[in-house]
């Protein structure tokens, strides 16, 4: 099962990377970045499961929590910048 999740994480990373480069629309780019982030987090969490201890490794969980909060902060800034840009263009 672990290998399935690893491969899923890699697929998420590469398809969102492809769409990030290809997309010309800011909204699509933002979504692609968020999905890229999810792929990376999935990689981390799967690694947490890949141990010999009974319950999974809590360190990656804490790191991913940090990562999610940081990603949301960056998304909030991006949204506000894009809205600002649209207002300037009107």
């Amino acid at each position: 099962m672990i290998w399935f999740y690893y491969i899923l994480a890699i697929l998420l990373v590469i398809i969102s990377l492809y769409h990030f480069i290809v997309a010309r629309n800011y909204v699509k780019r933002l979504i692609a970045l968020n999905i890229l982030g999810s792929g990376v987090f999935l990689f981390f969490i799967t690694t947490a499961k890949n141990t010999n201890t009974e319950s999974p490794d809590p360190v990656p969980h804490a790191l991913v929590l940090t990562g999610i909060v940081v990603a949301v902060s960056a998304t909030a800034i991006a949204v506000s910048l894009i809205l600002h840009l649209n207002k300037e263009e009107e």
Binding site: V40, T47, I77
Partner: protein, 479 residues
């Protein structure tokens, strides 16, 4: 007696940022905290100079791999000193700058200024890879907001592109850490270096990490975000971004190559690729800088070129394991001289734009007569960028040249000298305009004294620190 704690270097700027936002007397708070943080930076540099061993501090008393380590050695202490000097003078400049221009932005500027300081201190002190990610994120988000600060369309657009690229880079960096963690199970750099010896798996993780660091420090194929971002914001912010914010990724690369990664054949190829990119960055950056008509874009492209030096020397980081101290000295001095000089130049460009209300080069003639302080700032810092003798830039380039000859990389030394020549080609037009004896328009609008003097002092320090390099170099070599 309160004992010295590395945490102060991070907490004090953080608290300063909060106070400067909620308090009505933000300028005084900013001044007081800037001085305090500056003194702390100086103290930590002197600390490394006095004690011959690096200072390790385990936060919470948890030793790695469980906890996070802070490390103060000669190199990081020196960079703390650099951050302190640049930030202090930028703070002095900003007090006056936001008094006369961009008053609305001045309300929030100090918050981001101190956050940036905290982030930089955190970055240079940390020795935990994930902690470096968070510090990097603090830096890049602050930088993005600083770019968007003026609020007009050009700035917002530049900052948006910067934001997208820097989130991408952060995700890549995080991916690299995840891969390293999956293989080695540690995040601390010193433990990682023990675990890495005689293994090869790290190569896969190094790939995303290198891309991430290249994007963040604007190495050639990813340099396109830098000129619009650094040139479209207000002068103090440009100075901070161009002199301080893009240095940390390069520093991290140096640390990884010199202290963490083992000798591996594939690393050698990677170092060649990096040095080719660095060389191209020097040529292309200089070429575009020469062609620019506005002073801020010229300076931004010159940053691309100057960052190229740090990557041009990648083979030296790989082969120079025996000469670690010398490599650190050369690298640190190059970063230091560029940081001080570029900050001074951006601040002076702010002065020029304040007077002329335009940022075309042709609109700032005769500065040598009307505003000699600004002219001398431009002169000294330009000389440092070129690397004229006596300046810190000269010493840095000399050290690099010596290393490349010692290790047999004659071509790299030659490219560096060529880069100096190109630098003189793009610095020269600025001097020429300043000395123009038949100015089309004579500006007698006075510049606030604090703005002139802080820009001048930074430039002067950048130049004159070449004469006290013995003292600085000794500090860097302490480990």
């Amino acid at each position: 007696m309160i004992s010295f704690d590395l945490g102060y270097l991070i907490v004090l700027p953080l608290l300063a940022s909060i106070f400067s936002l909620i308090s009505p007397i933000r300028v005084y708070i900013a001044l007081a905290f800037s001085l305090l943080s500056f003194l702390l930076s100086v103290y930590s540099f002197l600390y490394t100079l006095r004690d011959n061993t690096p200072l390790y501090q385990w936060i919470g008393g948890w030793t790695p791999p469980l906890g996070i380590g802070l490390r103060l050695d000669g190199l990081s202490g020196f960079f703390l000193l650099m951050i302190g000097i640049v930030s202090l003078f930028v703070a002095l400049y900003s007090i006056s700058f936001f008094n006369v221009e961009y008053k609305r932005q001045g309300r929030f500027f100090w918050f981001f200024f101190f956050f940036l300081w905290a982030g930089l201190n955190a970055f240079f002190l940390s020795e935990d890879l994930f902690n470096l990610y968070v510090a990097l994120e603090v830096l890049s988000l602050t930088a993005v907001i600083l770019v968007a600060l003026p609020g007009y369309k050009k700035a917002i657009k530049a900052s948006l592109n910067y934001l997208f690229l820097s989130i991408l880079a952060s995700m890549f960096y995080l991916l690299g850490i995840a891969m390293l963690y999956a293989n080695y199970g540690v995040l601390s750099m010193s433990l990682l270096s023990q675990k890495l010896s005689d293994t090869q798996e790290f190569i896969y993780a190094l790939f995303p990490i290198t891309i991430a660091l290249a994007i963040k420090s604007a190495l050639l194929p990813f340099h396109f975000w830098l000129p619009p971002a650094h040139s479209s914001t207000v002068a103090p912010a440009s100075a901070l971004l161009s002199s301080l914010v893009i240095k940390p990724p390069a520093y991290l690369m140096l640390r990884l190559w010199m202290e963490v990664l083992p000798k591996d054949k594939s690393l050698e190829y990677l170092s060649i690729v990096l040095s080719i990119m660095g060389a191209l960055a020097i040529f292309i950056g200089s070429y575009y800088a020469i062609r620019q008509k506005t002073i801020k874009r010229l300076l931004a492209y010159s940053t691309v070129a100057q960052m190229g030096y740090l990557f041009l020397m990648a083979p030296i980081y790989y082969h120079g394991g025996m000469l670690k101290e010398a490599v650190f000295q050369a690298f640190a001095l190059q970063v230091f001289s560029h940081a001080l000089a570029k900050a001074s130049m951006f601040l002076s460009s702010g002065n020029a734009i304040y007077v002329a209300k335009r940022d075309e080069l042709s609109y700032m003639p005769g500065f040598a007569h009307s505003h000699p302080f600004t002219f001398f700032a431009l002169f000294f810092s330009g000389a440092t960028l070129i690397g004229l003798p006596l300046s810190a830039g000269f010493v840095a380039k000399f050290l690099f040249l010596e290393l490349s000859i010692k290790l047999g990389f004659f071509l790299h030394g030659g490219i560096m000298l060529l880069g100096s020549l190109l630098a003189s080609l793009y610095v020269y037009p600025i001097w020429k305009e300043c000395f123009s004896s038949h100015p089309t328009k004579f500006y007698d609008k006075p510049i606030p004294q604090l703005m002139e003097i802080s820009a001048f002092l930074l430039g002067f320090l950048a130049f004159s620190s070449g004469m006290i390099t013995g003292f600085l170099l000794e500090g860097i070599a302490r480990r």
